[in-house]
């Protein structure tokens, strides 16, 4: 069913918008930014900050564009002197009791207040009276710090905890200019850090990021959180080659504007102590660091020698391209397909918001290239074990017939310690690829930081080994994807670039059927 649309005029330009769209949204779609604080697309619209007032022809008063739906024939101005004056004056009101402590405020550089007062040239305050003082630097939970003086009472945090997490920790106490934001109980819900994102000013800041880097030094890359089968769309902010924080990125079909607190800290694993940075060989019970080419050849010799007798454990933590390239390698080796994927590490149950009990990012994609037989069964008849990422063979003495174990992964573990050849591989933040989330949505992640020297993604290793067996050498993730799309219906008709910023669902998946209905 085609959506009903209405025609309106914004600043003299004709705009067509779906019926029921809010003026602020229709304007944004037409490239007209309307300043706002309290409006948030995924929260209710109290229209309290009064920053978004616009002139609607025929209305005596300016209307809040965040809570006024478009109506056919509406003539709207956001650039008239009347509107500009209103915005400047509302902003002035917003600022009078604000401490303006930008030099010591961690929000500086990404502050809605700072950006606007610079745009409207309100550097010199006309306010010469004592400001209202409120509680500063309150640790309101394990993840957040609250400075009530900087709060502009937009109520976003209250609405988030009322409407999204339904945990009701935030509230505005008192009235008039003594109204003050408070945490009425400890804020320790699993999504608490989103409050720091939605707070338009420096009132709510994230403990993990406070005073780490001035935001104007940060560079940004779009990615996907690898923390669970949801695959929240995120931005990774990085500085001097290191990831500094993760933030949610809007994708209405997946995570709206949110992500969970645990997911947000996963960037720390990139530089964690147990990260495998260099290839190793095990000789006489000792591990020796070797060059990547030595490790590569050692592994290749084992693969060639045991080809058909190789038992492989794939992983739901690697990308679609990794899993596909691995499958191609096994095919060329005439080895059995990879064993069934291991269960997700335990941790949490599915919740009503985002988190999935399956804490792997790519079970849907990786299982397309794995078999159904258990790795333990496979190992009984194998002489070589190839283990990807999983701690699947911590005790190789159970399989005395095994002549070799190759481990390819990102972090050290008992399986890696017992392996004959250890090849580190790149992590999600270090290469480009795609994950398929629990909905069947294929989403792209992009390289944020460089992998440790000589460390490459699994698909590259697999493809290079595969070349030795007469297989195809892939030059890029896009090329792997192209081959994969012709091989498997999960990726039918998709291209790597076509995944865009929000990903795609294969025609066969539920979500895509719903979208078409």
């Amino acid at each position: 069913m085609a959506q009903e649309t209405v025609k309106i005029t914004i600043n003299g330009k004709e705009v067509v918008a779906p019926k029921g769209t809010l003026i602020i949204e229709a304007a944004a779609q037409a490239g007209v930014e309307i300043p706002h604080y309290c409006y948030h697309p995924h929260l209710s619209r109290p229209a309290v900050c009064r920053m978004c007032l616009v002139d609607v022809e025929g209305q005596r008063k300016l209307q809040p564009s965040c809570s006024t739906p478009v109506q056919s024939g509406q003539v709207i101005r956001t650039d008239s002197p009347k509107v500009q004056e209103a915005v400047r004056e509302v902003l002035e009101f917003t600022l009078i009791n604000h401490p303006l402590d930008c030099p010591v405020c961690d929000q500086a550089g990404e502050c809605g207040l700072q950006n606007n007062y610079q745009d409207y040239g309100l550097y010199n305050t006309k306010f010469t009276l004592p400001k209202v003082h409120k509680a500063k630097v309150q640790k309101i939970g394990p993840t957040l710090t609250l400075d009530a003086e900087r709060c502009i009472l937009c109520s976003r945090c209250v609405r988030f905890t009322d409407e999204i997490t339904k945990t009701h920790e935030m509230g505005i106490m008192q009235r008039g200019d003594h109204a003050e934001i408070r945490a009425v109980k400890e804020v320790n819900n699993p999504y608490s850090t989103n409050l720091a994102d939605i707070c338009p000013v420096g009132a709510l800041t994230q403990n993990d990021f406070r005073f780490k880097v001035r935001v104007w030094y940060l560079k940004h890359e779009q990615s996907i959180c690898p923390g669970c089968a949801r695959g929240c769309n995120i931005v990774v902010d990085h500085y001097r080659g290191e990831a500094q924080r993760m933030r949610p990125r809007n994708n209405n079909a997946v995570n709206q504007s949110w992500m969970c607190d645990d997911g947000r800290l996963l960037y720390k694993a990139i530089r964690s102590e147990d990260r495998l940075n260099a290839p190793m060989l095990r000789k006489d019970g000792k591990r020796l660091a070797v060059t990547p080419s030595v490790a590569f050849s050692e592994a290749l010799q084992l693969l060639e020698k045991h080809a058909k007798h190789t038992a492989t454990q794939g992983s739901a933590f690697v990308s679609n391209e990794d899993a596909f390239a691995l499958a191609m390698l096994l095919k060329m080796m005439q080895a059995p397909v990879a064993a069934s994927l291991r269960e997700s590490p335990a941790g949490w149950d599915d919740d009503a918001l985002l988190r999935k009990a399956d804490r792997t990012p790519n079970r849907t994609g990786a299982s397309a290239f794995s078999g159904t037989e258990d790795f333990a069964v496979r190992l009984k008849n194998a002489t070589l074990a190839l283990v990807i990422q999983e701690d699947a063979l911590p005790d190789r003495s159970l399989y005395p017939q095994l002549a070799g174990v190759i481990y390819v992964g990102t972090h050290d573990c008992p399986t890696a310690k017992a392996a004959d050849v250890v090849l580190p591989m790149a992590m999600w933040a270090e290469y480009e690829g795609s994950f398929t989330n629990f909905q069947g949505r294929v989403q792209r992640f992009r390289p944020v930081v460089a992998a440790p020297e000589g460390v490459v993604p699994l698909w590259q290793l697999a493809s290079r080994w595969s070349q030795a067996f007469g297989g195809k050498l892939f030059a890029s993730a896009a090329e792997v994807f192209r081959a994969m799309a012709t091989e498997h219906p999960l990726f039918a008709k998709m291209t790597f670039d076509g995944l865009g910023e929000l990903g795609l669902c294969a025609p066969s998946t539920e979500q895509s059927k719903e979208a078409q209905a």
Binding site: V48, R50, F93
Partner: protein, 419 residues
């Protein structure tokens, strides 16, 4: 001089009891209404051209006609008895002297819009009045004027008294609805209007105590009869309260259109000995003041006071003597609104506080000339940009005082030695 429709029996101490009320012809209007089509009752209300007495002056019959006829939702009637605008005390008098008129008026309204649940939201500080109403409501229940099948008909009506917690903003109709729902009293954005999405998202009529209490008379005598009184734009009678240094302060019912000075001099007995009229705030603290010269031209009607740059508001007249302190009076008013702003909207939350702090500084003798421009600037910035009219209600008197008493403000910000 007085024109007593509503107040006709107020001299009778028994009128506030059911017995007395019945003896004086009480509860005949609801019986008459119940014999009419609900729409015919709305039509009478429309014909009366009665404008809501809560301050905004919206035609009551029209408001009732906005209530959807075909709806699956319950409909509600809410009587606004939050009377908190400084200078206003007319609703309190009705509750004291004539609670059954109010109950009967509520029943008429409920029948007209076919609602079976009504509320009276009463100001928190009205503890005595709440008891009075409670007793009157109980009497009405006991004698079949409320409850199941009122007046022997099949029409059910529950009436619930709800006490506020002492917030002026809960007099704003949507702040009141939030409060009734058990939430913080913060006005809602409109639209949607209460007529379609009011209490618990259901169609709701909200009327002031006086608006409802006069309904029995309108039903008994006909809307057209009511409309013959007063002026074309301000029909009927009005309860006018007067306070300040006059000989007989109090509440009087008059026909709309009476000259303001006639009211002050004849009904209220004029200024007390030794006091001269300095200014009049005609309709509660949010209405701009009138000079003695303006008072001479003023009539007690919506249109006359509008024309003079003020408003009828709640018709709570505050008389100020000529030796009153302009700065002190304005500081008190500014303080009230700063205190009562619910704090949601930026211009109101910050503006009311800014006005008050500036006034306080001027009052303390520490004001500067640029403070006066600032007061105008702040007031202008507050008007027409907020969810409810409290911001306007705070800005209007500020602008009115600056306009009416420029010399007093100038003097207040001039350093003493320069005067």
């Amino acid at each position: 001089m007085e024109k007593k429709l509503l107040t006709k029996y107020w001299h009778d101490p028994n009128h506030k009891m059911l017995d007395g009320y019945l003896k004086n012809g009480g509860y005949t209007a609801i019986k008459k209404a119940l014999g009419m089509e609900p729409d015919a009752v709305i039509e009478e209300a429309k014909q009366s051209k009665l404008r809501g007495r809560g301050g905004a002056g919206f035609p009551a019959g029209m408001k009732w006609s906005f209530i959807p006829k075909k709806t699956d939702k319950p409909k509600y009637v809410v009587c606004n008895a939050d009377e908190s605008e400084p200078g206003t005390f007319k609703d309190r008098e009705i509750i004291h002297k004539d609670p059954h008129s109010l109950i009967e008026g509520i029943a008429i309204c409920a029948w007209a819009v076919q609602s079976h649940t009504a509320f009276i939201y009463i100001r928190g500080e009205f503890t005595e009045e709440a008891k009075m109403l409670e007793r009157a409501i109980q009497e009405a229940y006991d004698h079949g004027y409320l409850g199941k099948g009122i007046c022997g008909t099949a029409f059910d009506l529950e009436l619930i008294l709800h006490r506020g917690a002492g917030a002026y903003i809960c007099g704003e109709e949507t702040g009141m609805l939030e409060s009734l729902e058990g939430k913080k009293g913060q006005p809602r954005n409109k639209p949607p209007f209460p007529a379609t999405e009011g209490l618990f998202q259901c169609p709701t009529v909200i009327n002031n105590v006086e608006t409802l209490a006069v309904m029995p008379w309108i039903v008994l005598n006909g809307g057209a009869e009511y409309a013959k009184l007063g002026t074309p734009d301000s029909t009927g009678t009005k309860l006018v309260g007067i306070s300040g240094p006059v000989k007989r302060p109090g509440v009087y019912e008059i026909e709309m259109g009476m000259p303001l000075m006639t009211f002050i001099n004849e009904l209220a007995g004029g200024m007390i000995e030794g006091k001269t009229l300095g200014a009049v705030i005609p309709g509660g603290s949010s209405t701009p003041p009138l000079t003695p010269a303006q008072c001479e031209q003023a009539k007690i009607s919506y249109e006359s006071l509008d024309k003079l740059g003020s408003a009828l508001g709640t018709a709570g007249i505050i008389v100020l003597p000529d030796d009153f302190s302009v700065i002190e009076a304005m500081t008190v008013i500014a303080r009230f609104y700063a205190d009562e702003s619910c704090g949601q909207c930026t211009p109101c939350r910050e503006g009311t506080g800014w006005l008050y702090k500036t006034m306080k500084r001027i009052y303390a003798g520490k004001g500067a000339a640029q403070d006066l421009q600032m007061l105008s600037h702040i007031s202008a910035g507050m008007k027409g940009r907020t969810i409810c009219a409290l911001a306007d209600a705070a800005a209007w008197p500020m602008e009115g005082f600056l306009r009416t008493f420029p010399e007093a403000f100038q003097k207040a910000v001039t350093p003493k030695q320069a005067r």
